[in-house]
């Protein structure tokens, strides 16, 4: 018997928390002498008011879905993968190699290959910390942090010294050939008379992300492996009793996590930039942590949280475009959202529970 109806827990509480975060954000905007109503208005119309806005919102959301899922899967095995950033970078490298050095007849095949490559590279980058954690007990939090730095240095080397086209001053690979350019929403949904998602980077990999959400959900809650991952995450001694190998689960979970993080590259590298640039991940790996935590490590939660952050990113971009509000305001708003929905949720839950108990008592 629960203390309150499920809908209250999954809908009401996050909603109230969000409202609180919004109120505080408004105060901050006031404090820096801007008009909150205008700002919010600008953000909402800019991010959700047009197919163009959606195009960007969904593009960002796609990134966060991948990294969020990555963190979430690891969480289920009680592993804290802070390395999404580095794994995504390597995924990008994989995509770039596949797209640049193999002539593909058609984007669809290229996408499949790119998915494979990015997952492979991402997983490979997660493999070493995973192995060290499993075999040597080296704390995965440290090793993954370190591997983020190492990945950055490695990528820098590849781009500056190896993959950069002669004469280009830009530390980035050449553009990928036309054939591997992914269909954007614009090309997918525009009709002759009206063009939608004009110029927006949202592309087919959004659906890859959706697919990933389903796959992860099925994996975690419907398969033996998922069952074992969760069991291990809850109790290592229990796992040993049931004949579930901690080493195996640790490594497998991290490989999956790394692969998911790597997949992000199909969106930002293959879908948007159509080349590999330095810092292409832009902290999405870290946003992924927040997304996974807010989404309670559940694919659907991750999906929603990712959309929310996508909205904040795009809304923030619009603010930066049309007002003189510093871009950091968005960071603050993000922080408040994370804080209230993620960390202070009990502040809302506790009184609500009392309320519902009272109601039930009344009913009896």
């Amino acid at each position: 018997m629960d203390k309150m109806p499920k809908w209250a827990d999954v809908v009401l509480i996050p909603l109230i928390s969000l409202i609180l975060a919004a109120i505080l954000s408004a105060l901050v905007i006031l404090a820096i002498g801007e008009n909150p109503v205008e700002a919010v208005n600008l953000m909402v119309t800019g991010a959700l008011g047009s197919t163009y806005g959606w195009g960007y919102t969904l593009y960002y959301a796609t990134n966060f879905m991948f990294t969020g899922l990555a963190v979430a899967v690891a969480f289920h095995a009680r592993l804290f993968n802070i390395g999404g950033e580095g794994q995504a970078m390597l995924g990008g490298l994989g995509v770039a190699i596949v797209c640049l050095y193999i002539p593909w007849p058609h984007w669809s095949i290229a996408l499949l290959a790119a998915c494979a490559a990015s997952m492979l590279f991402g997983a490979a980058w997660a493999a070493i910390p995973a192995y060290l954690q499993a075999k040597r007990g080296s704390h995965i939090v440290i090793t993954t942090i370190m591997f983020n730095f190492i990945a950055a240095a490695f990528l820098n080397y590849m781009l500056v010294n190896v993959m950069r086209p002669q004469g280009s001053q830009d530390p980035a690979t050449a553009r990928f050939p036309e054939a591997v350019h992914l269909p954007t929403f614009q090309s997918m949904f525009s009709t002759a008379e009206n063009a939608v998602f004009k110029g927006a980077p949202a592309n087919i990999s959004f659906f890859v992300a959706i697919l990933a959400c389903f796959v992860v959900w099925a994996l975690i809650w419907r398969t033996r492996l998922g069952y074992e991952i969760r069991a291990y995450g809850h109790s290592e001694t229990g796992a040993v009793y049931a004949g579930i190998s901690p080493v195996r689960i640790t490594i497998v979970a991290m490989l999956i996590s790394g692969a998911l993080a790597g997949l992000m590259a199909t969106n930002n590298v293959m879908g948007e930039a159509e080349r590999l640039v330095l810092n292409s991940t832009e902290g999405a790996g870290f946003i992924g942590i927040a997304v996974a935590l807010m989404g309670r490590s559940h694919p659907f939660g991750v999906f929603v949280a990712a959309l929310l952050f996508g909205f904040l990113y795009q809304g923030g971009a619009e603010l930066a475009l049309w007002t003189s509000i510093p871009r950091e305001l968005i960071v603050v708003i993000q922080a408040l959202v994370i804080l209230f929905t993620g960390a202070l949720d009990n502040m809302v839950r506790m009184p609500l529970e009392k309320l519902f108990l009272g109601l039930r008592k009344g009913a009896e």
């Binding site: 069952y227 969760r230 069991a231 229990g238 049931a242 004949g243």
Partner: protein, 509 residues
């Protein structure tokens, strides 16, 4: 008549929707031992925790020595001269005994003086009550029996006049239990007031002056121990007649199922826990392994259950089993029809945060019966769970509850149901009824015997001699990693076994 040392008036406590205590009142006379019995989840621990200020009561008041005292936190309880030994000890594992005793009762900001002072007083207490412990050992280095002494010493060090013990004997050997009650006697003689929660009627009858019975959060009766009987108490507690003795036909042992030869087990630290034992369990018999906790029984079970590597040879139905590396894990064992009821249901047997129906597959989750194509067949699983809950009368009968929201008794029923229902060739059972109420004990024992009567082999490890006696067809006693000797239940008695458990060799016995 004298003012009661403790008087609880109309105590009520709800944990969210769960009404743990409903309007409970008792009064305990000073200088007496008061027993409390009741099913798992009846509310005993809660009630006592309230008296100790661990939980806050929703309603009701507490009087100590006749004066109304409100106890918002444990500090107040300690000030009021109350000490409590919790069911699950509240000790800091990686602190020394001394540090644990001093914690919270230091005098002065610096540790050194407090520690030396405590060391001195500890000596005196030890002398006085024969509660010997090594003050410099770390808690995780000493056995549960010792840990309990530390808990008691903690209370005495704080000059407790009222001592509460929640299921103190659950983890003790008979010898240890007897000694505990001798100590309690002495305390009572000094005029201290004592409350004991236990599931063992014998202890109630032998040691308490008065006894209260709790059921479903309410106090159903309080009687003078002298004027009652085990049967009556059992009935008051469960609400129906219960047989306190398992009645079973004598065993008809068949061919050997399990043959252990010269088994050695080393723990992570490389210490040899099992020092080359030979053991055979036949079809249709229950072999009970008696022994003080920590003499290698646990390790024996764990090797057989595939939880840790060992050396030597183990045959099942004549087939040798891998003892390390590939094919020696729990999955392999299950495939070989070995089922295992582990000693610690909460850390091993169950995933406390899984639904009951998920736990019903725990360990057998790779069983084809639970698969549909790539996926697990949760529908089938739930159906299966319904059956087991029904058959083993798990309460509340709701497969969607998480394991941790069942009481220990019912948690244990879930584990036993899962393992016995596999209908294995060999069943390993560790401490099947620790902390479980008699209603459940009776039931679980019946199931084990029933399995035996189907001609299965059962290896039982228990620190409860009573349990060993009432279930086993053959008893082996383990001490310091060796098997000291084997006995038939009707040819031996607690005294002899007690000696063997204490390591006194056969000849001497």
């Amino acid at each position: 008549m004298t003012v009661p040392a403790i008087e609880l008036k109309g105590i009520s406590k709800a944990f969210g929707p769960v009404q743990a205590n409903k309007d409970i009142s008792i009064s305990v006379a000073p200088g007496t031992i008061h027993g409390i019995i009741g099913e798992n989840g009846a509310g005993k621990s809660t009630l006592m925790s309230i008296l100790y200020g661990f939980y806050k009561a929703d309603k009701g008041e507490i009087c100590i020595n006749g004066t109304k005292t409100d106890i918002p936190d444990s500090q107040a309880a300690i000030a009021a001269g109350i000490g409590m030994v919790f069911q699950h000890f509240k000790l800091v594992e990686n602190f020394t005994v001394l540090e644990n005793i001093v914690l919270g009762a230091e005098d002065g900001g610096l540790l050194a003086p407090s520690l030396s002072k405590a060391r001195k007083e500890l000596k005196e207490l030890e002398e006085e009550y024969e509660l010997f412990v090594d003050p410099d050992k770390r808690i995780d280095e000493i056995g549960v029996g010792m840990q309990q002494r530390v808990e008691i010493l903690k209370a005495l060090y704080r000059q407790a006049e009222i001592l509460i013990l929640d299921e103190p004997t659950g983890v003790l050997t008979p010898a240890e239990a007897d000694q505990l009650f001798r100590i309690l006697d002495r305390l009572r003689a000094e005029g201290k007031t004592i409350i004991v929660i236990t599931h063992k009627l014998r202890e109630i009858i032998e040691n308490t002056d008065t006894v209260s019975v709790m059921r479903r959060g309410q106090m159903t009766a309080t009687v003078k121990t002298a004027e009652t009987s085990p049967e009556e108490l059992a009935e008051l507690m469960v609400g129906r007649k219960v047989l306190l003795q398992v009645d079973k036909v004598s065993a008809k042992p068949g061919k050997p199922i399990l043959e252990v030869e010269n088994l050695r087990v080393f723990d992570q630290a490389g210490v040899e826990r099992v020092k080359g034992i030979d053991l055979t369990v036949r079809a249709g018999e229950i072999v009970g392994i008696a022994g003080v906790a920590g003499n290698g029984q646990s390790e024996l079970l764990e090797v057989l259950g595939g939880m840790r590597p060992g050396q030597g040879s183990i045959k099942l139905n004549g087939e040798p089993l891998a003892l390390s590396g590939h094919g020696s894990d729990g999955q392999a064992r299950r495939a070989q029809h070995i089922a295992h009821v582990p000693e610690d249901r909460q850390r091993e047997g169950l995933i406390m945060d899984f639904h009951a129906w998920e736990n019903v597959a725990f360990g057998y989750h790779r069983d084809p019966a639970y698969q549909r194509g790539l996926f697990m067949d949760n529908a089938a699983l739930r159906a299966d769970t319904e059956r087991k809950i029904e058959k083993f009368d798990v309460r509340p009968p709701n497969g969607w509850l998480t394991a941790k929201s069942f009481s220990g008794g019912n948690q244990q029923k879930i584990v036993v149901a899962r393992e016995i229902e596999r209908n294995p060739d060999l069943l390993l059972v560790g401490q099947p009824t620790r902390g479980v109420d008699i209603g459940a004990i009776e039931f679980i024992h019946k199931q084990i015997v029933a399995l035996r009567d189907q001609g299965k082999a059962i290896l039982l490890v228990s620190v409860e001699l009573e349990e060993i006696f009432s279930l086993s067809d053959r008893i082996a006693v383990m001490f310091d990693g060796h098997i000291m000797g084997e006995r038939l239940p009707h040819e031996t008695d607690e005294k002899e076994l007690g000696l063997l458990m204490a390591g006194v060799a056969e000849e001497a016995a």
